[in-house]
Symmetry: C2
Subunit: 440 residues, 2 copies
């Protein structure tokens, strides 16, 4: 049984005083998981094991670095490649040959693309993609579906000329500080609702860019992706697929390759470099050439560790058939989770693809407390858990079986708590806060 | 004598076909230095030595990673700290304790500040700073001086409602693809021209943010920085100092600490982490709390190598009195460069501070060809040279004396070429292209 991480909790309370929000990523705020109880910090991470500041060891059955560490933490092959370029100097006045190698690698994996640019985070890569797309067509309006980061172009969707409507569309994505001149430039549509995109097109003859995550939790229905592609072609808009979360998770490359629907630009980050800052924008010849007509330049985009990590990550994925293995793991998890929830008669919807599972309790107002109780009890069992699982190649069967055994036990606790109406009583701290809502 | 880097030139020509612009940073384009001759890529970099793809060894007397590698390439202490966190796992679902340590470190170095946020590149850190400042005051208009990156907020200054004025203010910073709704939101003023800022203030009652590099090539005259501070206070604007290039170069922290003028927000990148992607936004309590009122969040801002590199870099700078050493080195360089240029009667203005020197030939239309010839002949001598020197702690006296000896020789060549009007004839490739112009 795990003891509460006193050092981690103390450091988190200190961090909130010196770092607004406590951390640089909303999805790493302790209050989203287990307020006043979450271990918050790690000393060491290896495979899917994490050691907190108090020396407690956990199995990460939640996000594996918010989806970034597909091969597992501190993967020895990726680390070796990165440490080599560090020893050789990871930055200089001259360029890194690795970025040319990576560019070639990415366009080979995506034969519809011919050119690549790089950045170091997903958010800035998306901002670059949108800049290039806008420069290409000279049309500013963007229709989008899904989550695409913190940049002005995207948060502009939550601006309204009527101030009291701020924040309505995407709760939690507060656009304060985004210039109001951008109001009306980013127009949302829901996944699998082609009629919403059609409406945007009908009402905005100047639409120039369509941005979407090709997959998130739902499969495309009724040829949704093909229809988006057709609309983009018809109106001459640049189609951008945001593969920051979906890329390299289901296959070696963008998930759009599985759907056989090809964008004009695709953006990768996270999974492509196993935890080292790296992101890529790939695209078709003519669209990408528009990058030359606008100023997009930053010093740290030229360091060497990022491309070296990406090359090593992608090579290992190909060699070890990593995504095939993860799909198998995810299916095994899914089958057993369905079995265990039925056994305890727990109403919880499981959506996604096997390698990216999402959980939703179906108890209305009690959902958040139930989720908090699940996280609390699983933490005691030695697992980091929340409302989903980003499957990793590091999830070996022994870990998963241990996890399933604990889930069985904890679902039993939840069942009893629901029956006896003691969910809130069993919580040893406040109920978890909600994050932002994704437009799905 | 160095031989032309065939492999490097070939790879650069290949890169331009697959990466728009060939590289992610304008200032690393080979055409800015020595078209068709520049080695372009490095295999290895250590101290201030760089080995190109053909095995040629150069001394970098130009930018040391565009100012990022103040301690020198592959600094063993910084590399050791980074490799340690890589071995321990550089990313996980939990947070890195190093970012709290770095936040404490930075506010301790800058007692006017109490809070910090982090990103991984200078450009995105500046975009975050401007977002926070706009959120704080709810006033969108930004007055700025200097160079601040590729983001929409900044390039907006080159937008005009009259399209034919595009690109006028900051030549080379093409704003194509920046939404026109941002026109008029970023208003430029020149360094040491307080009357230009006063005019902006008089004409824009809704000015909310003032952004500037506290130092670039000129020293502030007539209490310029103090006057900017007073104006910001008077109109209640947030003052942001962009210390991406000036930070940690002249002292351990922002150069504003030397001038004793304190902003509301300061931004660091480059020099703070010796070549590893890292950037920081520090600020006063109330201003930084506005970060909580807007959505600023990205996964790769939470990895661990960046803060570990920054902590090790700053510690070493303090322990080894790095900036004092660099000042001494810069002064020695400056004194001898002045002597050598006088000896050969070369008209070249040297501006800046000792640790950041900038050169300008004063031969009108011949300037660019002369600069190209200097770079060409110094390359043969085994030096990377261009229109300035970012001094590094790795510049040991033996390197510098070797450099000065070569400069003496090459200035002799330039003198003869000027006298005989053979500058262009001596060039073995095209004249270097110009980069963007900084508003100074």
């Amino acid at each position: 049984m795990i003891k509460r991480s006193k050092k981690g909790i103390a450091l988190w309370n200190k961090a909130k005083k010196i770092i607004p929000g406590g951390t640089q990523l909303l999805s790493k705020r302790s209050e989203l998981f287990l307020p006043d109880q979450w271990p918050s910090y790690f000393k060491k991470a290896n495979g899917c094991e994490i050691v907190d500041l108090d020396g407690n060891k956990y199995i990460d059955m939640y996000s594996m670095g918010i989806g970034s560490c597909i091969l597992g933490y501190a993967d020895k092959d990726v680390n070796k490649a990165v440490k080599k370029v560090i020893d050789y100097g990871s930055m200089s006045t001259l360029n890194s040959p690795e970025e040319v190698e990576l560019a070639e690698f990415l366009v080979k994996l995506h034969p519809w693309a011919t050119k690549a640019r790089f950045a170091r985070t997903g958010g800035e890569a998306m901002a670059i993609a949108v800049r290039i797309a806008r420069a290409h067509k000279g049309r500013e309006k963007v229709a989008f579906c899904g989550y695409h980061g913190w940049s002005d172009w995207y948060l502009a969707s939550n601006l309204s000329h009527e101030r009291n409507l701020d924040g309505h569309l995407l709760p939690g994505l507060n656009p304060t500080g985004v210039p109001r001149g951008l109001a009306g430039t980013a127009l949302p549509f829901n996944y699998n609702k082609i009629e919403e995109l059609e409406k945007i097109v009908a009402e905005n003859s100047d639409l120039g860019v369509i941005v979407m995550e090709p997959f998130r939790y739902q499969e495309p229905k009724d040829s949704f992706l093909q229809k988006v592609r057709e609309i983009a072609d018809k109106i001459g808009a640049v189609l951008i697929f945001d593969e920051v979360s979906s890329g390299f998770r289901f296959n070696v490359g963008g998930v759009h390759m599985l759907y056989k629907v090809y964008p004009d630009i695709a953006v990768f980050a996270k999974g492509m470099s196993n935890g080292f800052p790296m992101s890529a924008i790939i695209g078709k010849e003519d669209v990408m050439e528009s990058a030359q007509e606008t100023f997009i330049s930053s010093t740290y985009w030229t360091e060497r560790a990022g491309p070296a990590a990406a090359i090593a990550t992608i090579k290992k994925m190909s060699q070890k058939k990593v995504q095939k293995e993860m799909d198998k793991t995810g299916k095994y998890l899914l089958k057993n989770l369905e079995r265990i929830k039925s056994k305890h008669n727990i109403r919880m919807e499981i959506s996604g693809k096997p390698a990216l599972l999402h959980f939703n309790f179906e108890y209305g107002e009690m959902n958040r407390a139930l989720q908090t109780l699940l996280t609390q009890e699983m933490l005691k069992e030695g697992f980091l858990c929340s409302a989903g699982i980003y499957v990793s190649f590091a999830f070996k069967k022994t870990y998963i079986d241990k996890y399933l055994k604990s889930i069985d036990k904890v679902f039993g606790i939840l069942r009893k708590a629901i029956d006896q109406n003691t969910v809130n009583k069993l919580l040893e701290g406040p109920v978890a806060q909600s994050g932002f809502k994704r437009l799905t």
